[in-house]
Amino acid sequence: MSSGKHWLDEPQNVKRLWRGFLVLLAVVLAAEFLITLHPHFEVERFPVFYATFGFLACAAMIGAAKAIGVLLKRPDTYYRADDE
């Protein structure tokens, strides 16, 4: 285990994992059209709402965090003086 290559080290296998992930994404998108949704709100009627929302929400939060980081990030030695 500790010596030799792990199967995840093969780029070939990583590529396979990515393909599997994309297939899974396609499946959960398609599955929406095989079931009856019970929307509580208008936006839920929009096709593949949950997928779109999850993706955009994460992208927006990453963007917001980066913007805040510009203002508030400091080198990790910043507080060292009062800890030592």
């Binding site: 959960v28 599955a31 929302f53 805040i68 400091r74 990790d76 009062d82």
Partner: protein, 564 residues
């Protein structure tokens, strides 16, 4: 009363904690595992209702009052003491485990308390126990962090006590019942509770202090303080609308800071704030479905967050590194830790077949049932955002990512078994939630595994996962810290204090030199006047004295005449 004392599961943990320091070797290990089991057994022997009453200063105290809600929280707290104790068996600090058991026992004490005075007593004991847990890590950083932590919690305790005192005076009763923030006293109680929940504006105590504890200490810390706060808010302030907005703020604050953080356990600490925020949203919604969801989420959150912090603790202990930028690729030599950490991550995401899927969506459903569109939407966004802290960032950067070249050995047996136990619970409650549902405070009208739930949840999670992997470049960890409100009391206030000190010193110097100059000049005058012919030692002629006496007598005569 004495039988009630002996049957209190929280006191059993605390007494057990006091016995632990006298034990060594196998006896100590056995005691660490037996004490929480005894406490759990005692808990389930207690009948429903008020078990123990006492009177103090004219107030009716109910140190043990059992209902479904208090029993649920006390159950998970004792379970947590067991799992944490098992994980920490190899901990060399002799203070940490006893402190953690005092901490766990007082958390149980808060949940069983039927009156506010008992709540307060155990509340403060919890602050002491948890401070000792942080302090027992034994580093300078942990000492400094434990002092900052203690200051915040003593402040929160003082605010809570003021509120409790006001409530006692106003109502004449110490009963812990549901309240509204309608008076100064109730506001103080609410604020005191919120401090421990990690709510703004003092939220930074949590990510500041928790990651400074030892590899096992943080596991205990993750469970008790914030979840006890969730419990008292559930009991004390259900349906308080303000809590919805406080909770949403916490949820996004946790996500944003976790995205910027490098320390793996600090990422998980911000993740705690985010998850507790979602629970507080549920308390604010306040319907039976919602409160059930909060109770279930608190129960499962303790399990999966402890599991995540166990895997982080195992990595820290094996590698001595805490920053994501120094870690990666550990799945090669720590496969079990990586697998358990990943199960914890999936549970935090509320992935189907994990405990997260059978608990958190109850709150979503409650928001939808109440037609709270904005709340529902933001709750969904924060749920998707879990991928950016506990659900994706943590396992990816610690166990996968690049090959850091580290080849640490797998964790020792006691740590492995603790992780296996909690990973099993994550999956068991996910597949078979009925036992948990039977313990919830209200009857459960919720079906987790409907086609709609599974498909919509998978869409939300898998596509937030897609966003995570596509934007990995933006998520790269940097060797930085991000300023939080603790900057106020670590940098700004000390700087102001130093400035004020310098100012005072300058004023003192000015005043001193002014006075000293005046005194010196006076000295010169006195010195001069006491020399020969000076004013003080001069001799006066007898004639002038006789003249002055005559003038005085004349003046007396004039005054006498005027008075007539």
């Amino acid at each position: 009363m004495s039988s009630a004392l002996a049957s209190h599961p929280g006191l059993a943990l605390i007494v057990g904690a006091l016995v632990l320091p006298f034990l060594r070797g196998k006896a100590r290990q056995a005691a660490v595992l037996v004490i929480p089991v005894v406490a759990l057994w005692l808990l389930w022997q207690l009948p429903m209702g008020t078990v123990w009453q006492a009177e103090w200063l004219g107030y009716q105290l109910e140190p043990i009052q059992v209902d479904r809600l208090s029993r649920l929280f006390a159950t998970i707290f004792t379970l947590m003491a067991f799992g944490g104790g098992l994980f920490a068996l190899g901990q060399s600090s002799r203070i940490e485990l006893p402190a953690a058991f005092v901490y766990a026992g007082s958390a149980v004490g808060v949940t069983l308390a039927g009156d506010l005075i008992t709540v307060f007593v155990f509340w403060e004991l919890m602050a002491v126990g948890s401070t000792l847990v942080i302090w027992s890590a034994g580093t300078r950083a942990s000492y400094a962090a434990s002092l900052r932590y203690l200051m915040i919690h003593l402040l929160g305790g003082a605010v809570l006590f003021t509120g409790v005192a006001g409530h006692l005076v106003a109502t004449g009763s110490a009963d812990f019942v549901a309240m509204r923030p309608d008076s100064v006293a109730h506001w103080m109680i609410l604020l005191g509770f919120l401090v421990n929940a990690g709510a703004p504006p003092l939220s930074a105590w949590l990510p500041d202090a928790y990651p400074e504890a030892s590899w096992s200490g943080t596991v205990f810390l993750s469970a008790f303080t914030t979840k006890t706060a969730v419990y008292v808010l559930l009991r004390g302030f259900p349906g308080t609308e303000l809590l919805i907005w406080v909770g949403l703020f916490m949820a996004f604050y946790g996500i944003v800071y976790a995205v910027l953080e490098n320390d793996m356990r600090r990422i998980l600490a911000y993740s705690i704030v985010s998850s507790v925020g979602l629970m507080i949203v549920g308390i604010g919604i306040g319907t039976e479905m919602s409160l059930n969801g909060v109770a279930a989420l608190a129960f499962t959150h303790i399990i999966y967050k402890a599991l995540l912090l166990m895997s982080a603790g195992a990595v820290l202990q094996a590698t001595g590194r805490r920053n994501c930028s120094d870690l990666g690729g550990l799945f090669r030599t720590m496969p079990l830790t990586a697998a358990c950490g990943s199960i914890g991550a999936l549970t935090s995401l509320s992935f189907p077949f994990t405990a997260g899927f059978t608990s958190k969506p109850m709150i979503t459903t409650a928001a939808a049932d109440g037609h709270l569109f904005i709340v529902w939407l933001l709750f969904g966004a924060a749920s998707a955002g879990v991928i950016l802290h506990a659900g994706g960032t943590f396992p990816w950067f610690v166990f996968f990512q690049k090959d850091s070249g580290l080849r640490p050995p797998e964790a020792p047996a006691s740590m492995r078994w603790a992780m296996i136990l909690f990973a099993f619970l994550c999956l068991a409650v996910g597949v078979w939630p009925q036992p948990l549902y039977r313990m919830l405070p209200y009857p459960v009208h919720f079906e987790a595994y409907t086609a709609v739930h599974v498909v919509t949840q998978l869409q939300l999670l898998l596509f937030s996962g897609l966003a995570f992997f596509l934007m990995l470049g933006f998520l790269k960890r940097t060797a930085t810290v991000t300023l939080d409100v603790d900057w106020l009391w670590r940098v700004l206030l000390p700087a102001l204090a130093r400035r004020a000190d310098a100012l005072l010193a300058a004023v003192r110097r000015q005043v001193t030199s002014l006075l000293a100059g005046g005194v010196a000049r006076l000295g010169v005058v006195i010195d001069r006047e006491r020399r020969p012919y000076g004013m003080l030692v001069r001799t006066y002629p007898t004639a002038s004295m006789a003249l002055w006496v005559m003038a005085m007598l004349l003046g007396y005569l004039v005054l006498y005449a005027l008075q007539r």
